[in-house]
């Protein structure tokens, strides 16, 4: 009792890139001296895939989780068995972020069905009587800036009752004309999504306009036949293979940002502005085993109860 283990990563934002050296200290603090059987540090990076109940059924989803894909896993021994003096002991470490073979260091991403996570784990083995101590700490990996020039891809859009698909009774819809543009659907993940929306006219009062950020996650069902053979994000725009058959594709909301509240002034542009949340977004990713893509919905709510959605696929990248 009374012995605490802690990992302090040097960078305040805990962000590292491939090839960099992850450094920090392991802090052992205790009132008394601590006898131990060795302290080791493990760096681990995994992709966890989860099948959604919608695609495969509840039970399967529960039992049939796909085996996690390991990206990186290495251990170093920090201290040989011995004894720590009482008080605070800091043991510095440096861990190079090198990958074996042609594996790719995906960006950290926390999704629903896809999770890419990197952790640093410190284990202190102790004698039979005392419990082993473990401390885990997440660090964040950003992929290297993509090569090549970033080209914005602006999109103009117009929404009227006529442009809508999937309408039950078009005649019942109030008349409206919305115009707008997104400055680019190719987005730099550190920059906000921007654009403008103008309500040119609308018979019905507007209740709300929202931006819905959606993630589309696709998991290949246990078909990781060629682990590590997936494409790096920089070249992932192209072919689609690996997860062709039996994939589960799920779209879930990440966040919903209201950009207009109430009946906004006609003819006056309302800014479209959304910051991509950290951890929950990553550059668009496509591998043989899974895919992570993003979309944005512009959702317009009209009085009394009309909902209009316009969908725009996004491509996120890091430069």
């Amino acid at each position: 009792m009374g012995t605490a283990l802690d990992i302090k990563i040097k960078r305040a934002n805990k962000v590292y890139h491939a090839g960099e050296v992850l450094s920090g200290v392991v802090v052992i603090s205790s009132k008394d001296s601590v006898q131990h059987q060795g302290v080791s540090l493990t760096m681990e990076g995994t992709v966890n895939l989860q099948l959604s109940a919608k695609s495969v059924g509840v039970f399967e989803a529960f039992y049939n989780s796909v085996k996690p894909i390991q990206i990186i896993n290495s251990t170093i021994e920090m201290v040989k068995p011995g004894k720590f003096p009482s008080g605070k002991t800091e043991i510095p470490f440096e861990f190079p972020l090198h990958l074996k073979g042609n594996k790719v260091l995906y960006e950290t991403y926390h999704g629903v069905f896809v999770n890419i996570q990197y952790t640093l784990r410190c284990d202190m083995k102790r004698s039979l009587l005392a419990k082993d101590l473990t401390k885990t700490c997440e660090f964040i990996v950003h992929s290297a800036p993509q090569k090549g020039k970033f080209t914005p891809s602006p999109v103009d859009f117009t929404i009227t009752p006529e442009t809508l698909q999937n309408v039950k009774e078009r005649a019942l819809l109030p008349k409206f004309l919305l115009r707008g543009h997104l400055n680019s659907t190719n987005c730099v993940i550190t920059q906000p999504l921007t654009g403008e929306l103008v309500v040119e006219s609308s018979e019905a009062a507007i209740r709300s306009v929202e931006l819905q950020l959606v993630r589309v996650e696709t998991c290949g069902e246990g078909r990781a036949t060629r682990p590590g053979a997936c494409l790096s994000p920089s070249t992932a725009t192209l072919t689609f293979h690996g997860c062709a058959e039996g994939y589960a594709r799920d779209a879930t909301e990440i966040q919903n940002i209201q950009i207009a509240d109430g009946d906004v002034c006609r003819g006056l542009s309302v800014p479209i502005y959304m910051v991509f949340p950290r951890l929950f977004t990553c550059p668009t990713l496509e591998t043989t085993n899974f895919k992570v893509e993003f979309e944005v919905n512009i959702v317009v709510l009209l009085h009394p109860d009309h909902l209009i959605t316009e969908n725009f696929p996004l491509k996120l990248c890091r430069i």
Binding site: V112, I254, N256, I259, G262, V264, S269, V270, Y273, V275
Partner: protein, 937 residues
């Protein structure tokens, strides 16, 4: 000749007095006595006082009499009345002061000529109130029930950490309904407190949730009349939050190295601080709803300083654009006001944003008259004329921020833009209340034109004229336009039907009139006010405004003769019929008079009017008037009395005093002042009289009066004057056509004078008994008749006086005047001085007796000797051997040449023997034995 020391006999005046009096025989209860008061003995059953027994002093009847004190205090006691009338403004002001302290350092960025928000705060809270029930709807649970997200095609709504942000306390949803305004304010204050608590206990996420929930309340426009106040309350919380976050991040930079300077650059901030800051911004950027996201981000705008130099200047335009998404025009204008407020505080140099806010506002201005708003008003049952006045606080603030140190060109442009928008009254009003007064004043004619043209559309015109008037009170319009402005404005004002509207407007314009025009115009204006306010006693509801009018008039008319020649001024005063207000007004007038009247006046108009005013003040004094109030009133009335002077016309001056006395009898300081004045009058009048004894006696009397009124220095002056007059007394005076010697009159006067001098306290700067000494000198130098003993008789009297003066307690006193007995308290030095004087006087007497040893004077010697003997007997302490011996010698002297009257001698001896039976007088027995009676042979 041997010097005889004097020893005064200690006198017990009370006992002596008692021994001389007839014995009082107590009257038996049943005995008849014609002067006995009628006593009413009351039995319990009889409750009514018997008629005709009004002279009754019976105490038993008091039970049926209403206690006068309790009847006055009937109803609410003054303290709880104060509490009841303490209006929200006062409360707000109290809250303000504490807040102001906190905000002070931030305002330093902007010049002190910028009216800070804190000034507006109280006004808004006091003005925008409601009696309707309010509700706080804190959606502290998840928002699954909300239409926006629920209807999405997603079948599975997975709760992420982000969404949890919207939870206040896990899964709870609180809706507080039916709150009164006060409850609401309390509740908000509670939230403010719990924000601080959460912050202090390191629950940053909870703090953020509270702030989000609070700012969400600002999107709720139900009970719209209360919205401005709600804005004030909630932005207070936001300010608190902004400050907390900023200070926290700032402190993270501090503990790394030394203290961060006030104007630091982002490089100075350390990584941890930056990361924390960035975290806040990411969290806030993910707030779902627009209004909370806007407000919370605006509240921590200052934190951008940690991240980048250009952060604030990039953020402000973005936030400005963001407001465009707010559909409700009222909500959006207040959001703009908040952004301007934060902007002015954090980066006052970024004017562009302010302008953009203004122009955006103009673009959305038409929405006020749009359907959505109209529908909402119908639902809430609010009329347009009460809806539009909800805008000015926010608009004024935005306009004020923009116009602060703004170039003329910008203001002109703004005005033009406003004009283009159908010249709306609401805009015009804000322009006038926010722009520099000089700017408005130079264009007053334009403004009047615009006001006349503009369509009222629910915003009353009189408010516009009021705003214009306020500007004109501060800055002067061009000379040539002045009269026309007044005419145009008053033409509209005078047509206002509602007395409240009228007086609010008129009150403002009175100042302009007073400033630029003569009494003729002011008179017209006052007449108009009277005309409007008199019907239905409308003035009763408008005392504050009427009071302001008086104050303004007084402030501009320092010449009171002009002021009172304004015919309608006094009729105007008559409108103040509630006594407390009336007295207040009177006080103002007198205050101004004392301040501005430079020279004494005798102008009958002023006197008449001010006497009336003073009488009003005086008549308000009653048993319950506080001392302080009385002091104040007295000060004012005295100030007036002092300023009245008829020059050499003393008669009129005196009659003025007489009149004043009859008017101001309830205020003691005033009476004292009057007595001072009268005493002064006496002092200057007496020398003009011819009769020397009249003069002497008048001096004495005036001195006594002055003394009786505690005017000590005046009394001294009188007595000195009398003393210096004594040498001028001629030997012979003309009485009823015959010349007579004056000595006996002088003796009479001096004796009278001595008895007054007993109680005159010594002047602290003069020597002991200086008046007596001076008088003795005068008597010494006076040329007496050769063959008279008057001088010696006077000396004897002086001896009596001095003996009386050496007593522990004097024979008589004047109320409230401390005589020498209490001043010196029987100090031995004083007594020694006194005795020394006695010795001198005695030596003089004895000297004189010696000169009378010649034949023709023996009779005089005898009688003088006897009189001296009597004096010693009455006043001296005969236990003293020397004195005793002296008295025996005198006794012999009186009888030596057989000149003494035997019967007198016998009686004297009998008296001594009788006296010796008194307890303290036993030594007289021995003395009597030593006094032989000479029998005639």
């Amino acid at each position: 000749m041997a010097v005889f020391p004097w020893h005064s006999r200690n006198r017990n005046y009370k006992a002596e007095f008692a021994s001389c009096r007839l014995e009082a025989v107590p009257l038996e209860f049943g005995d008849y006595h014609p002067l006995k008061p009628i006593t009413v003995t009351e039995s319990k059953t009889k409750k009514v006082n018997r008629k005709g027994s009004t002279s009754s002093t019976s105490s038993s009847s008091s039970s049926s009499v209403v206690d006068p004190l309790s009847s006055v205090l009937d109803g609410t006691d003054p303290l709880s009345m104060f509490a009841a009338t303490a209006d929200p403004a006062a409360l707000a002001a109290a809250m303000d002061s504490s807040r102001r302290k906190r905000d002070r350092d931030d305002n330093s960025v902007v010049g002190s000529d910028f009216e800070p928000w804190t000034n507006k705060r109280g006004e808004i809270l006091a003005r925008y109130t409601t009696t309707e029930k309010l509700s706080i709807n804190l959606f502290m649970g998840s928002e699954k029930g909300k239409a926006g997200t629920a209807t999405l095609a997603m079948s599975e709504k997975v709760r992420t950490r982000l969404e949890e942000l919207d939870d206040f306390e896990e899964g709870s949803q609180k809706e507080l309904l039916n709150l009164t305004q006060q409850d609401y304010v309390n509740r908000i204050e509670e939230l403010n407190q719990s924000l601080k608590d959460a912050w202090a206990s390191d629950q940053k996420v909870k703090a953020l949730k509270i702030v989000i929930q609070c700012s969400k309340l600002l999107s709720d426009t139900s009970v719209i009349q209360f919205y401005p106040s709600k804005f004030v309350l909630i932005t207070d919380i936001l300010d608190t939050f902004g400050k907390l976050v900023y200070e926290r991040i700032f402190s993270m930079c501090v503990d790394s190295r030394s203290v961060l300077p006030d104007h630091f650059s982002p490089e100075n901030a350390n990584d941890t601080a930056k990361e924390t800051c960035l975290n806040w911004f990411f969290k806030i950027a993910s707030i779902r709803e627009l209004i909370p996201r806007f407000y919370v981000e605006a509240s921590i705008l200052k934190c951008n300083k940690f991240l980048s130099k250009t952060g604030i200047s990039e953020c402000l335009p973005r936030l400005t654009c963001m407001i465009r998404g707010i559909g409700d025009p009222l909500v959006s204008v207040y959001a703009r006001a908040y952004l301007c407020r934060v902007g002015m505080e954090v980066a006052p140099h970024l004017k562009e944003t302010l302008n953009k806010n203004f122009f955006d506002f103009l673009l959305t201005f038409k929405q006020i008259h749009g359907d959505t708003v109209q529908n909402q008003l119908v639902v809430q049952g609010v009329e347009l004329p009460s809806y539009l006045p909800l805008y000015p606080p926010a608009m004024d603030w935005i306009f004020q921020c923009i116009s602060y140190h703004a170039p003329e060109a910008l203001l002109t442009e703004m005005m033009e833009r406003c004009k283009k928008l159908g010249n709306n009254a609401l805009l015009l009003n804000s322009v006038m209340s926010a722009f520099r007064a000089e700017f408005i004043a130079t264009r007053s004619m334009d403004f009047i034109g615009m006001i006349k043209e503009c369509d009222e559309s629910g915003f009353p015109k009189h408010l516009l004229f009021r705003s214009l008037g306020l500007n004109l009170a501060l800055a002067d319009p061009p000379e040539s336009d002045r009269l026309q402005i007044l005419n145009e404005a008053w033409k509209v004002i005078t047509k206002l039907k509602n007395p409240q509207d009228y007086i609010n407007c008129a009150e403002v314009w009175v100042e302009y009139t007073c400033k630029h025009f003569t009494k003729r115009e002011v008179n017209t204006v006052l007449a108009d006010v009277i005309k409007h306010m008199t019907p239905d006693r409308a003035f009763e509801d408008s005392y504050p405004q009427l009071q302001l009018i008086i104050k303004k008039v007084i402030a501009h008319f320092h010449d009171f003769s002009v002021l009172f020649s304004v015919e309608k001024f006094l009729p105007f005063l008559d409108m103040f019929q509630k006594e407390s207000v009336r007295v207040e007004v009177c006080k103002c007038i007198m205050d101004a008079f004392i301040k501005h009247q430079q020279e004494p006046t005798k102008d009958p108009v002023i006197l008449n009017a001010l006497l009336h005013v003073c009488k009003t003040m005086h008549d308000s004094v009653n048993a319950l008037t506080l001392e302080d109030e009385k002091r104040m009133l007295s000060y004012l009335i005295n100030g007036f009395i002092k300023m009245v002077s008829f020059g050499r016309d003393f008669e009129q001056q005196l009659s003025f005093y007489v009149e004043s006395r009859s008017m101001f009898c309830n205020l003691e300081p005033v009476l004292v002042q009057l007595i001072h004045a009268c005493v002064a009058y006496c002092f200057i009048t007496i020398p003009s009289l011819a009769g020397i004894f009249t003069r002497l006696n008048l001096y004495l009397h005036s001195g006594q009066v002055a003394l009786a009124n505690q005017c000590l220095s005046q009394a001294d002056a009188f007595f000195k004057a009398a003393i210096s007059l004594v040498p001028e007394v001629p030997k012979m005076i003309n009485i009823d056509g015959k010349m007579r010697p004056s000595e006996s009159f002088l003796l009479e006067f001096l004796c009278n004078f001595f008895s007054t001098l007993l109680i005159v306290p010594d002047h602290p700067e003069h020597g002991v008994l200086f008046l007596v000494r001076e008088l003795l000198n005068v008597i010494q130098d006076y040329t007496w008749e050769d063959n008279s003993d008057e001088k010696i008789r006077i000396y004897t009297c002086v001896l009596h006086l001095l003996s009386a003066m050496s007593q522990e307690t004097y024979l008589y006193h004047i109320d409230k005047v401390d005589s020498n007995d209490s001043l010196y308290g029987g100090d031995s030095k004083f007594l020694a001085e006194n005795n020394k004087l006695c010795e001198t006087v005695m030596a003089q007497i004895l000297e004189h007796l010696k000169t009378l040893a010649k034949d023709e004077a023996l009779k005089r010697q005898s009688s003088l000797g006897l009189s001296f003997f009597n004096s010693i007997l009455a006043h001296g302490d005969l236990r003293n051997n020397k004195l005793n011996q002296l008295s025996v010698n005198l006794w012999h002297l009186a009888q030596r040449h057989g000149c003494a009257d035997t019967r007198t001698m016998v009686k004297t001896l009998e008296y001594i023997k009788k006296q010796s039976k008194q307890p303290d007088m036993t030594h007289l027995t021995e003395l009597a034995l030593r006094l032989p009676l000479q029998t005639r042979t």
